[in-house]
């Protein structure tokens, strides 16, 4: 019984901890490019294929240069005179006699700002999450309602050359301990993880297709990072932990990464992670291929508009990754845990339906930092989702986790609604049924998130 309660508490804590994370969906991009959230997201922060391209391209819309002529906007027509005047002004700075001139993405581009390399708008956003959890088996309190996260986000690009992204957690809920408090205090670092991400991307380094990324970020491993999801909880394949090790494939880390799109449909990334307190760096690599749909430069596929084919509405992304590293409990400790992770992901989209498959495999050689007992891990997740309407998605996820012979299965139905009229607001209802050995737990979560 004691173990049963511990499992429940741990499960709630885990869900709350992971649900406070978010990332790339930031209204600063909407403001800068004068476009709606749905341009890049299904239901935020899950990316659609164009949002994925925007991210891969260092926060710049992929440019499709015509070989025979440069884009020279010529203002024609009539309509709103004031608007046309602004367009002329915009075209004056966007007509690109200068290489890599500003993109005419809005009607208010300023030449001085462009010359200074500054974004056209202050690229700041706020993201806030409110969660309510109901746990019928909780020891002290069935209902938990509190603000879970408040984050400051910034992102953009300086003159199409240097992309940047920042996420600073103004408030992040710590580990949930019902015995202590229903609404725990804001945790200090490291749980608060104040500066969760800050990185720079040197786009097309020295004229090559390679983007160099440096700073604190999530290494490019799985396709299903926690910043790319609709549900409240994360995929087990990216969030599971082994023993006392805090490593997950979704952990942020101080790292340098090189990534590139090759042959339009192949994406490669490789990087090194510098972990505090050790002189040996960790390494990782990622490869993914896209079949069908638009390519990684957002070019649409050729399509015969006279003949119907289901293949026109289908695309498939297959990705693989590997990570090798080691960690310890403290800088002073000599006990190291050498570990690796490897995984394969699949993303299949057919019209409004989407299937995500993920498999992760790993081994930790000393995950409790004392006994040096090898601990293998195998985790599988499958999620099907369907866009019922443009602003309503239903999804179901199944997860199977085996860590050193201890298996856990999770069944997670979820619905999420982000009204078209206010795309910066999202309501998500998620239910989790988990079975670990002979212990089951049932938790319902309601999450409300706003970003502005």
């Amino acid at each position: 019984m004691h173990m049963y309660k511990q499992c429940l508490i741990a499960a709630v804590g885990f869900i709350i901890l992971v649900s406070s994370n978010n990332a790339h969906a930031i209204p600063a991009f909407s403001r800068e490019h004068n476009t709606e959230c749905a341009t890049c997201h299904t239901i935020f922060p899950e990316l659609n294929e164009y949002g994925d391209v925007f991210l891969k391209n260092g926060f710049v819309w992929a440019k499709h240069k015509k070989e025979d002529q440069a884009a020279k906007p010529e203002i024609r027509g009539e309509g709103d005179p004031a608007l046309l005047e602004k367009l002329k002004e915009s075209a004056a700075t966007g007509a690109a006699p200068k290489e890599n001139g500003p993109v005419m993405s809005a009607t208010h581009k300023s030449e001085p700002l462009w010359l200074a390399g500054l974004p056209q708008t202050v690229p700041l956003s706020i993201s806030a999450t409110l969660n309510a959890a109901y746990n019928d088996d909780a020891q002290y309190d069935n209902v938990d309602l509190s603000t879970r996260a408040l984050s400051l986000l910034a992102g953009g690009v300086f003159r199409d050359k240097l992309g940047f992204f920042l996420k600073y957690n103004l408030y992040a809920e710590g580990e949930f301990v019902p015995a202590a408090s229903n609404t725990p205090l804001n945790s200090d670092s490291p749980n608060a993880k104040d500066l969760e991400q800050f990185y720079l991307v040197w786009r097309n380094t020295l004229g090559t297709p390679i983007n160099l990324k440096a700073g604190r970020f999530r290494p490019q491993l799985s396709l299903w990072q926690k910043s790319n999801k609709v549900s409240i909880s994360d995929f087990a394949t990216t969030s599971y932990r082994v023993g006392s090790s805090t490593f997950t494939t979704d952990s942020t880390a101080d790292a340098i990464e090189a990534n590139a799109v090759l042959f339009n449909r192949l994406y490669l990334a490789a990087g090194v992670v510098d972990r505090d307190g050790q002189d040996r760096n960790e390494g990782y690599g990622h490869i993914s291929v896209k079949i069908g749909g638009s390519d990684f430069h957002a070019r649409e596929p050729e399509m015969d508009l006279d003949n119907e084919s289901i293949m026109d509405y289908l695309y498939l992304v297959v990705g693989g990754y590997g990570y090798t590293g080691r960690n310890s409990v403290s800088l002073a400790s000599n006990e190291r845990n050498n570990f690796y992770r490897a995984g394969v992901d699949l993303d299949l989209v057919v019209k409004s339906a989407r299937l995500k498959l993920a498999w992760a495999n790993g081994e930790d050689k000393n995950p409790d930092f004392s006994s040096h007992v090898k601990t293998p891990s195998d985790v599988f997740a499958a999620q099907g989702s369907y866009m019922v309407t443009k602003d309503f998605m239903a999804l179901f996820r199944y997860e199977y986790q085996d860590i050193d012979g201890v298996t856990t299965e999770r069944y997670i139905p979820t619905v999420s609604f982000s009204p078209l009229e206010i795309q910066n607001t999202k309501v998500t209802l998620e239910y989790q049924h988990a079975e670990t050995e002979n212990v089951t737990s049932n938790i319902a979560l309601l999450g409300i998130r706003v970003a502005f």
Partner: protein, 122 residues
């Protein structure tokens, strides 16, 4: 004295000058902006009706008007030419819940190509 003459001349010129009207006209402002229906030929009226109903499900007509008038897609900054109209048509056809059929996309692409041609006329 010369300065005064020039000033008067400029004022007179500004009074008698008329704005240049290109082929593409828009009516309304902001999210109410649309192409002037009177410039749409009869055989493209059906496509115009489709455009008015289907395209505005996700974005305003202002975005399309700007793209046609400037030759630049407002969000991406990419050239908006006949090659682009087909690509956008395909994109909208593939977009989940766009509720557009191939036939509708073909008609709207044809209409946008017509508007691009008209806008190109001096």
């Amino acid at each position: 004295m010369n300065l005064i003459k020039m000033f008067v001349l400029l004022i007179l010129l500004s009074i008698v000058a008329t704005p240049v009207h290109a082929k593409i006209r828009a009516v309304g402002k902001g999210d109410k902006m649309n192409f002037d229906p009177s410039q749409i030929p009869a055989d493209l009226r059906g496509a115009f009706e489709i455009m008015k109903v289907k395209c505005v499900q996700c974005h305003t007509q202002e975005r399309t008007v700007i793209a046609i008038q400037t030759g630049i897609a407002p969000v991406t900054g990419q050239p908006f030419d006949k090659q682009a109209t087909k690509a956008y048509g395909i994109k909208m056809l593939r977009k989940p819940k766009s509720n557009m059929t191939r036939e509708e996309v073909k008609q709207v692409v044809n209409l946008m190509n017509f508007l691009i041609d008209e806008a190109a006329k001096p």
